[in-house]
């Protein structure tokens, strides 16, 4: 799985340091982006560099915070969703002291009960960073939650504000056939599984 590969190439495990970063965004086929179904908000922003720049598929535009640390990006869903992967695009070469250095990912039902599920430290990253939300236990492959919060705790070179260029959130694709315990994989089954 490219997920694992990405993890190996850039870091150790959860508490480890992440450096480098992929130039190309490659995600597994059975994951799909869930950001469109969520409400995105940020703790603060500079005019013209707001939250929409995080979701515009444009790496030239970025979100710039405008206040005290920590800075938050809040992602709220209407119903509980299963999330597996968070991908960020940050670039030390362009942003230098604005590049995040410590990031914490929290999940919960709302602002009142967020709990940290992942913490990473970045070292001069340039490109797409894959942050897997899976635990070691296979039962923890997904995080089933209403809300995700990405907190930027500190920046490189002790910068106050931060730049993040793009964020994407991924979860598993649901079974195209409803009411089925497992997905069909062989051609024989798939051909007969739907009428078009």
């Amino acid at each position: 799985m490219s997920l694992e590969m990405a993890a190996e190439s850039s870091e150790g495990e959860e508490e480890g340091k992440l450096s480098g970063g992929n130039q190309v965004l490659i995600v597994d086929e059975d994951l799909r982006e869930l950001g469109k179904k969520a409400a995105w908000s940020v703790s603060s922003c500079k005019t013209g560099n707001g939250v929409s720049s995080l979701r515009d598929d444009n790496l030239e535009t970025y979100w710039q915070s405008d206040g005290a640390q920590p800075h938050f990006v809040n992602i709220q869903f209407q119903k509980k969703v299963r999330l597996q992967l968070v991908v960020l695009y940050v670039d030390f070469k362009l942003d230098e002291s604005y590049t995040p250095s410590k990031i914490s990912i929290r999940a919960g039902d709302g602002f009142h009960n967020l709990k940290e599920i992942k913490a990473v430290e970045l070292v001069k990253p340039t490109g797409w960073l894959y942050l897997s939300l899976s635990g070691l236990d296979p039962r923890e492959t997904f995080v089933n939650t209403f809300m995700l919060q990405i907190a930027v705790l500190s920046n490189h070179l002790n910068g106050r504000d931060t730049h993040v260029r793009q964020i994407k959130v991924y979860g598993p694709r649901p079974n195209p056939i409803p009411q089925q315990p497992f997905q069909f994989t062989s051609t024989e089954f798939i051909t007969y599984s739907t009428i078009r």
Binding site: P181, S186, S193, I195
Partner: protein, 691 residues
């Protein structure tokens, strides 16, 4: 005037002003008025009722149309689509033959006949179709009528017996134009003719499909030229006692073969563009059945209702036969030899010839009609058998092969692919049924063939909904649902009465998880065609996903009633029943599904699922063992077996199967589920084993 009422009604219909169209054809203040244009009018009225949801009236009018003109295939098609057709024999039987005969014989006794054969043929044939109410045509028609009126006080033909013919003959030589064909019409006003293009090759079956619009344009060009000639004729005609014929009429009726898919049933040799209509059955009469275009009625503006036309037609018929003998400019066709039998005066229409011709056509129509009816009822095997009864030259034509393909689509995609492939070889420019072909290729996951098909179709006709459906299927196969949706929406725009385009839009919305819009699309599809079972199925699936099991079951039931032989529908019906906790019924339905198609593994798998939930573990395992043989790489089979073994506390076997399942590389969700299950293997059974 009746003729203009019909024209007006057609125009309203084209612009989707169904109320006005209906009011014109059936004026509210004249409840007993006859519908203008005879069978064509009834057909149009039937269409209007169909699209305004008054099914009974629609059926009534289609039947009327067929009784007035038994050769109106389009009306029969509509009946089949509405699911109300009786057996083909009823419509295309002896009575029909007699009816046709009567129509022709009536004409032969009228003195008006002979008359100036002349130009009418020449002129008319040239004009051909031109349904598209080109203004010139109507003017021409008017002009001609006036002329004839002036000269003879009788519509059209005028002239008395022998003399006109002579003058006619001289007229012919005066014009000296190669008469493309003799158009013969079925006695009653030919209803909606499709704009037809001369087509040399595949004629033989009749079809009422839409001819690609691009061809229409080219034919219009051709027609315009003829119209000019016609005008010339008209003017010079004034100088003669016999007015030039109403070309319009003939042209209108001609319609015919131009259509790539049709062949005038009666093996007519006549094809306007003077192409010899090859394979068709030679018929003594060589009359063409009027082919009608479904859903796009193009009226023949000439068509007058009533006897005028009939008389004209008939006389034309005679005339053409006579002129054929006399005029060397006429193309010789098979019928011409027979025409030679008819005395120049055209007085004696050999009634036996009419009957033979009529019965030949009707025999063919009976077979085609019966097959089509069975196809609409989704009795696939019967329909296929009926199509097999056709002689080779008729079977190997685009239309028939497409229909065969559609039947195979219901249960055997490979055969369907083959049939459609052949159809494309025969008639590469036919678009009807190509949307189904693209779905077949989608199911077979043949992305190369599918994209090639889509490209070809778009090149053939950018304005046909089928081309965009194929394109959309192409994108959908590559999981680009948004682009696919755009393509399907384009198809809908091009023809909102094309039910399948709506259904495909619905499928794409569902794939994008936009269930509301998906439901709306499926419902639009059903509004167009209530018997479009794919839309019922789509709705059932949406409700199944939303866990509204009662709705889901209802919709699958509706789909099942329309298409009782589809194993997929049955298996989902069973799933819905199982979700409603009616597991016994579910099992019965699953058995039916398994019987319906032995090659479909899904109902067996579902059966195992249901058995497991009913705790009949051994039976479930049996079924799954069978499935293992059939689909050895299907992960869900192993995973389910693992689960069952766990419930039976046979841990090693469970472990084995989970292991195999994992080796086959399941999706992330399933992998997680299976791994979790492995961890829990030695933990005592929890009630809800939802991994």
């Amino acid at each position: 005037m009746a003729q203009s009422r019909y024209l007006f009604a057609i125009s309203c219909f084209q612009m989707n002003l169904l109320n006005e169209a209906e009011a014109t054809l059936c004026p509210a203040n004249e409840p007993s008025a006859e519908v203008p244009n005879g069978s064509a009018g009834h057909y149009l009225l039937g269409l209007i009722y169909r699209y305004t949801d008054r099914k009974k009236n629609a059926v009534h009018h289609f039947k009327m149309a067929l009784s007035m003109d038994p050769l109106m295939w389009a009306a029969y098609e509509e009946l089949c689509i509405l699911g109300s057709a009786e057996e083909a024999v009823a419509f295309f039987g002896e009575a029909a033959a007699l009816c046709i005969q009567k129509q022709y014989l009536n004409f032969s006794t009228s003195p008006k006949l002979h008359s100036s054969t002349e130009d009418c043929n020449l002129v008319d044939t040239r004009h051909c179709v031109s349904e598209d109410a080109s203004p010139r045509q109507s003017k021409l028609m008017q002009g001609l009528k006036d002329i004839s009126g002036n000269h003879h006080g009788a519509p059209v033909l005028g002239g008395t017996s022998g003399q006109p013919i002579n003058s006619g003959l001289s007229n012919i030589s005066f014009y000296n134009t190669p008469a493309p064909t003799m158009t013969q019409l079925s006695g009653v006003a030919p209803p909606l003719c499709r704009n037809v293009q001369p087509n040399g090759s595949n004629m033989s079956t009749q079809s009422a499909e839409n001819s690609p619009r691009s061809t229409v344009n080219s034919t219009i060009q051709a027609r315009r030229k003829f119209v000019d000639e016609g005008k010339l004729r008209k003017i010079s005609g004034r100088l003669f006692s016999d007015s030039p014929r109403r070309s319009s009429r003939l042209s209108g009726d001609a319609s015919v073969n131009a259509n790539p898919n049709t062949t005038a049933v009666s093996g007519n040799g006549t094809n306007y563009s003077s192409k010899h209509l090859g394979g068709s059955k030679p018929s003594s009469r060589a009359f063409r059945s009027v082919t009608v275009r479904k859903g796009q009625p193009w009226a023949n503006e000439n068509i007058d209702e009533g006897n005028h036309n009939d008389i004209l037609d008939d006389s034309l018929l005679n005339i053409t036969s006579t002129t054929s003998t006399s005029s060397s400019t006429m193309e010789a066709k098979s019928y011409e030899q027979e025409a030679a039998n008819i005395p120049v005066g055209g007085q004696v229409l050999s009634s036996s010839k009419v009957i033979t011709g009529a019965s030949e056509i009707l025999t063919l129509l009976r077979v085609l009609g019966e097959a089509f009816r069975l196809a609409c009822l989704y009795r696939c095997q019967d329909a296929l058998e009926t199509y097999q009864k056709l002689p080779h030259k008729h079977y190997n034509t685009g239309w028939v092969l497409s229909q065969v393909g559609k039947m195979y689509y219901e249960f055997d995609y490979l055969e369907a692919d083959r049939a459609f492939g052949l159809a494309r070889q025969m008639t590469p420019y036919n678009l009807e049924g190509m949307d189904v072909y693209s779905t077949v290729l989608y199911h077979l996951k043949e992305d190369m063939k599918l994209s090639y098909l889509a490209q070809e179709l778009i090149q053939t006709d950018r304005l046909a909904p089928q081309s965009w459906c194929a394109m959309g299927n192409c994108y959908s196969l590559q999981k680009d649902h948004e682009t696919a949706l755009k393509n399907f929406q384009r198809a809908v725009q091009l023809n909102p009465r094309f039910a399948y385009a709506h259904t495909l839009c619905g499928h794409e919305y569902v794939a994008l998880e936009d269930f509301e819009n998906g439901i709306k699309c499926y419902q639009s599809a059903l509004r167009v065609d209530e018997r479009h079972y794919n839309a019922w199925y789509g709705l059932g699936m949406v409700y199944l996903r939303q866990e509204k099991f009662e709705f889901s079951e209802h919709h699958f039931q509706m789909a099942f009633q329309i298409n009782p032989q589809s194993s997929v529908i049955l298996s989902y019906l069973g799933t819905a029943l199982h979700a409603l906790k009616r597991s016994e019924e579910a099992l019965v339905v699953m058995e039916k599904a398994i019987l319906a198609d032995k090659k479909n593994p899904v109902p067996m798998y579902q059966k195992a699922n249901i058995l497991m939930s009913l705790e009949k573990f051994d039976e479930a395992l049996e079924v799954l063992e069978e499935l293992k043989e059939y689909a050895p790489r299907e992960i869900s089979v192993y995973a389910l077996m693992g689960r069952i073994y766990k419930r039976r506390n046979m841990h090693e076997r469970a472990m084995l199967h989970y292991g195999i399942a994992l080796d086959l590389k399941p999706s992330a969700t399933d992998a997680a589920a299976i791994k979790a299950a492995i961890e829990k293997l030695h933990v005592p059974d929890e009630m809800d084993d939802n991994l």
